[in-house]
């Protein structure tokens, strides 16, 4: 909504210097100043560290599966035994039913799955097994790869498309801007999750084979593209507003007077001025997209089982929550940790890049 235009009165060297606690800022680039502010924010840096650690841990999934757990993400072990602390235990025990020969009464034995063995089974089933005897820790790591791929990939696509739309709309104005603004409004008016699950489940039947594009039905591209599409207006609308404001500034007028081409103005005059907002949006939208992916997969419109993702794992675990709560708790905690670290880092990044910025993710 129309916010009163904030004048950037703090942009004088003196005031910036005061903000920097008296440190000299002469001859330093804004990016360096931002880095200096970020460096002081230990919480934000630590959060970034957590995110990096999560990414690295997940990317070791193939190694972990091969050398520690000795099983694959989709390998089932329904009838296997495993030695836990020297004791031989079934991965899946119980199940089936017995009939009393005298009375004919049927007793159903409840299925119980192996709980977390921590390290007592030498790396096998560290976080327990699911009802098909699959190793939860292996699936968690592989699921993390998928969730992160979708989160980062869709954030990348979404941000790039939104930036291009905002640049075109903001620079040319007129009918080009009107079309882009209406397009953004249109996606905005859709109930986001409903649109995403409708698209996701429609595409997951046979995939997408039109206009020379071939996407198989189980492909990760489907959730990635669906999520990036539905979230375009959340980045595009605020950016378009910023660029419309910048477009009126004198330096753009000067660039036009010097004969700079529209492309040049868009990418070397306008884009650098919104780069810090784009960076912050990018960080926060990864977090948001990972939550959306989890929701989609939970409803069966995202990643297709048996392919794991954190959302798929929660959905699978929910059915056994009473007997095996770790199946639900563990992937959920993984999501919360990842999203939280991104949110905290994104906040710190925003404060560092532009303490007065109003960039904000409207979930």
């Amino acid at each position: 909504m129309a916010e009163p235009a904030t004048e950037l009165t703090l942009d004088t060297a003196q005031l910036l210097a005061a903000e920097e606690h008296g440190g000299s800022i002469v001859g330093l680039s804004p990016w360096y100043l931002a880095w200096r502010r970020l460096r002081r924010n230990f919480v934000a840096l630590a959060s970034f560290g957590v995110f990096v650690v999560i990414m690295i841990t997940c990317s070791t999934a193939p190694l972990y599966a091969r050398y520690v757990a000795h099983t694959g993400p989709n390998a089932t072990h329904v009838t296997d035994f495993v030695s836990v602390g020297g004791k031989r235990r079934q991965v899946i025990s119980g199940g089936g039913f017995t009939i009393n020969p005298k009375t004919g009464a049927v007793t159903v034995k409840a299925v119980s799955v192996l709980g977390p063995t921590w390290w007592h089974a030498r790396g096998r089933y560290v976080l327990g097994a699911d009802e098909l005897g699959r190793d939860v820790a292996v699936r968690l790591l592989y699921g993390g790869i998928n969730s992160l791929k979708i989160g980062v990939g869709s954030a990348l696509i979404c941000t790039i498309v939104a930036v291009i739309l905002a640049l075109i709309g903001g620079y040319f104005g007129g009918w080009a801007d009107a079309i882009i603004a209406r397009f953004l409004d249109l996606i905005w008016a859709f109930p986001v999750l409903l649109l995403a699950i409708a698209l996701g489940s429609a595409l997951s039947i046979n995939g997408f084979h039109h206009f020379g594009i071939d996407v198989a039905s189980g492909s990760l591209w489907i959730p990635t593209l669906v999520i990036s599409y539905v979230l375009i207006p959340y980045v595009g609308r605020p950016l378009r507003g910023q660029i419309l404001g910048l477009r009126q500034k004198e330096f753009i007028e000067a660039a036009i007077a010097q004969g700079a081409s529209p492309l040049r103005i868009m990418f070397s005059e306008l884009l650098p001025n919104v780069a810090s907002s784009v960076l912050v949006f990018f960080t926060l939208i990864i977090a948001n997209n990972m939550l959306t992916e989890a929701g989609l997969s939970f409803l069966g419109a995202g990643v297709r089982p048996p392919n794991p993702s954190w959302g798929v794992l929660i959905a699978e675990g929910q059915q056994r929550i009473v007997t095996a709560p770790w199946l639900t708790l563990v992937p959920g905690i993984a999501i919360v940790l990842t999203v939280l670290s991104l949110n905290v880092f994104g906040d710190g990044l925003r404060d560092a890049l532009d303490p007065r910025a109003k960039v904000r993710m409207e979930h």
Partner: protein, 325 residues
């Protein structure tokens, strides 16, 4: 004002048209299986499929099908008894979509209104406390809790809350919805968990937005003036700071509330088995059943478009500098 309303009304119609057309095209282009063979059931005869295709109009060009579908959707809103082919009916089980949405309204409205009140009240309270005590431990604590709140998948929180509070310890009922007219006490009892779970995310988000808005407003000249002329700090906060900081919250609340009313709380409704509009949408999406998806999308988009007009009107009242353009 009159011209503004007329223009917004036309805009609403245009958006609803575009939204419905988009949904239709997605489901026509994207192969979801032949609806006629779905309606015919298992092991149909070829003749039966042909008859159904003719009777339901699947043999017509797609724009004719679209217009027919919109006509049916419109008919469904009219009161009275309808023939089998005059209203929007599910491909999967031939139920009247308008009826099904209507059946979901009590659960969806109970969930949204209750949760909306909770998150608005607590969001404002938390934001004000954090801003007033900015930098102190209460502010830090609120910031941390709010960040965790916005980082949790709402359905996961729902599952975990249900497990710990309704299954492991049976303090709360384990999902489901009891109509208010049937038993008000049970209605309330069944809704407490869903309300809280749905509200957590919004409380965290609103609290953070409000906190930063208040901190921005506190440095404005008119706030300094108000202090200088000797107003008590409570009066400055309520009459001068809050009045202005709450303006962005109005638009956030309007859109979020509209989306939840419009069946947007799909995950919460699914997790707690509240058979509302969002739950209905999730069920039909699973079956790739176009008519219910169309119905719910139009219903949801209607709320979003309507509330964004209402927000613009409230804005002009809150801040007379903004005139409806």
């Amino acid at each position: 004002m009159g011209a503004f309303l007329v223009r917004r009304l036309l805009g609403m119609v245009a958006v609803l048209f575009a939204v419905s057309f988009l949904v239709f095209v997605v489901f026509i282009i994207v192969p979801g299986g032949d609806p006629a063979s779905r309606i015919a059931g298992k092991n149909p005869t070829q003749q039966n499929i042909v008859n159904i295709r003719k009777k339901w109009g699947f043999d017509r060009p797609f724009y004719v099908q679209y217009v027919r579908m919109m006509e049916k959707a419109g008919n469904g809103l009219l009161p009275g008894h309808h023939g089998p082919y005059s209203v929007l009916r599910s491909f999967a089980n031939q139920t009247d979509v308008a009826n099904e949405i209507e059946r979901g309204l009590p659960a969806t409205f109970s969930l949204s209104i209750g949760a909306g009140l909770i998150w608005l009240f607590w969001g404002i309270l938390v934001g004000v406390i954090a801003a007033v005590t900015a930098g102190r431990w209460s502010d830090r604590l609120i910031t941390i809790v709010a960040l965790i709140g916005v980082s949790m998948p709402v359905f996961w929180l729902g599952i975990v809350a249900r497990y710990f509070l309704a299954e492991k310890n049976t303090w709360f009922p384990d999902g489901g919805y009891v109509p208010l007219t049937k038993d008000p006490a049970q209605w309330l009892f069944h809704l407490i968990l869903p309300w809280l779970v749905l509200a957590v995310l919004f409380i965290g988000f609103y609290g953070r937005v409000l906190r930063s808005n208040i901190l921005d407003t506190i440095n404005e000249d008119y706030v300094r003036t108000a202090r200088a002329k000797g107003l008590t700090s409570r009066r400055v906060l309520v009459k001068h700071v809050l009045r202005n900081s709450l303006i962005p919250i109005v638009s956030l609340f309007g859109l979020d509330f509209a989306s939840v009313l419009g069946g947007g709380a799909i995950l919460t409704e699914t997790v707690f088995e509240l058979r509302g509009v969002g739950w209905y949408a999730a069920q039909s999406v699973g079956d790739l059943d176009l008519p219910p998806i169309m119905g719910v999308t139009l219903y949801g988009a209607f709320f979003i478009v309507m509330f964004s007009t209402v927000i613009d009107l409230v804005y002009t009242w809150l801040d007379p500098r903004i005139r409806p353009a």
